[in-house]
Amino acid sequence: MKKNFIQIKKVSKIYKNKFAALKNVDLNIQEGEIFALLGPNGAGKSTLINVLCGITYHSKGDIFIDGIDLTKNRKKIKSLIGLVPQELHLEAFETVFDNVNYSRGLWGKKKDNNYILNLLKKLNLDDKKNNLLMQLSGGMKRRVLIAKALSHNPRILFLDEPSAGVDIELRKEMWDIIYTLKKEGVTIILTTHYIEEAEEIADRVAFINNGEIILVEDKNVLLNKLGNNKLVFTLDNSFKKVPAVLNKYSYKISKNKSCIEFFLSKEKNEVSDILLSIKKSKMDYLDFNIEKRSLESIFVDFIKKEKK
C-alpha cells in the first residue's frame, strides 16, 4: 500500500467561461482505499474526477499519481485508470461483448475473451453479452460501463455516481464488486448522492461544495464524532414537564411541546433505560422512534455552517 498514492496539490479548474469549478483543492488518497466524494449538484465532483482521469485539464496546481506528474505523463497515468462516467454514453449498435472488448483494446491490453466473459458474469450481464447496447435498460448500461472500466484491469477505479438509476439489489451487488476490488488492491474513488452508500462502503469521505473541499475524514471517526442518534417521542396535549428521573439525559423539547428528543451517546445503549424511566414515571406519549443522524445531516450542517 503506497501512502499518498494520489496527491492533489492546490488544484484549481477554471472553465473556458471563467467559471471556477475547483478552487485550491488539496487532497491525498491512499492506495487501496475506498474514497467517497460527497457534495450537492454542481459541487465539482465530476470535474475533479475528469481532471484526475486526464479528460479535462486543470488550470493550476499539481497532481501526482503513483509518483508520476500528471501533466508530464498523461498517457502513463491514464493506463492505470478505469473510469465509470456519470452519463450513460454508449454506442447503440454494438454488442455488449464487442464493446467491452473494445475498451480493453483501447487500453492496450491483449485480447482475453475468458477474462471478459468472467467479468460479464460477475456483473450479471452474461445473458446479455450478444445484445446490442441500445437494447439494454439504464441499469444494465451502467453495468456495461463498469465492465468497460474493469476490462483493462485498472489499479485505480473512478466511479462517478455509480448508483444513479440502479436498483437496490444491483447496488448491493455493486458494493460486493467494489469490496472484491479493494481486496485485490484497487484504489476506488466514487462520488455519490446516496449518503448511505458512502456510509456503507467508504473508508474515507470528503465533502466538497462550491469547488472547495470542506472536510476530509475517516468515515467511522466522522460517524462517531457527529453521528449520534436521537430518540424522539411525539407528545400529546397532556404533557406538562419532563419527569425528574430523565434529567440525567441530554434532551430537547420542541417549542410547541409536540415532541421531545433525547440525544443518545454512541457508547451506551440508553434507549431501553429511557423507555423504562418513562414508563415508570407514567409520562404519556403518542409514538416514538429513533432518528439516525446520517452523513447526510452531518453534511447539511456543514454546508449551513459554511454559509454563515
Binding site: Y15, K16, N50, C53, G54, I55, T56, Y57, R74, K75, K76, K78, S79, I81, L83, P85, E87, H89, L90, E91, A92, F93, E94, D98, Y102, S103, R104, G105, L106, W107, G108, K109, K110, K148
Partner: protein, 254 residues
C-alpha cells in the same frame, strides 16, 4: 512507441461499424457508377466523339473513381470522428492512454480501407460496361491509396472541427464536389476556353484526376510528376495540421 493494440482496437471497431452498413456501402457506389455509365457512357457518350483517343465511357472512369473516393473518404472520415462527440462516447477516447498519432492511424486507416474497397468496386463495376485496360496498374494503385489516405485524413480533421451536423456536410458539399466536377473529371481541360484552363489549374483536384487518367490511359492534363508531388504535398500539409491540432489538445472539453 506506438501502441499497436490500441490502434488495432480502433481500426476494427471502425471496420465493424462499416460492416453493419455493408449493404448500403456496396450497393450505393455500384448503383451510382452503373447509372453514370448508362447515362453518360452509353446514352450521351455514344454521341460524343473520342476524347484524347479514348471513348467517353472510358474517359469518365478515372473521374468517377475520384468523385467517389473523395466524397466518401471525406464524409466517412469526418463522421467517424464527429460521431463519438455526438453520442458522448468520446469520453472513452479521451480517457484511454492513446496518443494523437495512434488515433489517426486507427481512424484514418479504417476510413481509407473502406475507400479503397469502394474504389476497387467501382473499377470492377466499370469493367462490366467498358473494356478496361489499365496501362499503369501500380501507379493507379498508388494514386488510389494516396487519395484514400489523404482525404480520409481530411475528413478526420473536419470531424474534429465540426460541432454540428451542418458543418459536417458543408465541406463535402461546397468544396469537394465542385472541385471534382471542375477538375476535368468528365472533360479534358483543353476543351475549355484558355482563361478557364488557367483558372482550372488552381484546382488541386485537377492534378489528382489527371494522375489517375495517366495511370489508366496515359492521357493527362498535367505531367504525371506534378500529380504525384501534388498528392504527397496535400498529405504532408494535412499531417502537419492534424498534429498541430492534437498538440493544442484538440476537442478536449476545455
Amino acid at each position: 512507441m506506438i501502441n499497436l493494440l490500441a490502434v488495432k482496437a480502433i481500426y476494427f471497431h471502425e471496420m465493424n461499424r462499416t460492416r453493419r452498413t455493408i449493404l448500403q456501402s456496396i450497393i450505393s457506389p455500384i448503383l451510382s457508377t452503373s447509372l453514370y455509365f448508362i447515362i453518360f457512357g452509353s446514352a450521351i457518350g455514344s454521341r460524343i466523339k473520342e476524347i484524347d483517343g479514348v471513348t467517353y465511357g472510358m474517359f469518365i472512369v478515372p473521374g468517377l473513381l475520384m468523385l467517389n473516393l473523395l466524397t466518401q473518404s471525406v464524409s466517412n472520415g469526418s463522421f467517424s470522428t464527429y460521431f463519438p462527440k455526438f453520442n458522448g462516447t468520446i469520453f472513452e477516447l479521451q480517457a484511454a492512454p492513446i496518443s494523437g498519432v495512434e488515433m489517426i492511424i486507427g481512424f484514418v486507416g479504417a476510413t481509407a480501407t473502406k475507400s479503397i474497397i469502394l474504389g476497387l468496386l467501382i473499377i470492377a463495376t466499370a469493367s462490366f460496361f467498358i473494356d478496361l485496360n489499365i496501362l499503369h496498374p501500380f501507379l493507379m494503385v498508388f494514386f488510389l491509396l494516396m487519395t484514400a489516405i489523404t482525404f480520409s485524413l481530411f475528413g478526420f480533421v473536419i470531424g474534429l472541427w465540426a460541432d454540428n451536423f451542418e458543418k459536417l456536410s458543408l465541406i463535402p458539399l461546397i468544396v469537394i464536389t465542385p472541385l471534382v466536377f471542375l477538375g476535368g473529371s468528365f472533360y479534358s481541360i483543353n476543351m475549355l476556353p484558355e482563361i478557364w484552363q488557367k483558372i482550372s489549374l488552381l484546382n488541386p483536384v485537377l492534378y489528382l484526376v489527371s494522375g489517375f487518367k495517366y495511370s489508366f490511359y496515359e492521357i493527362s492534363d498535367v505531367s504525371i510528376w506534378t500529380s504525384i508531388i501534388t498528392i504527397l504535398l496535400i498529405l504532408l500539409i494535412l499531417i502537419v495540421i492534424t498534429l498541430l491540432i492534437f498538440k493544442k489538445g484538440y476537442n478536449l472539453r476545455n
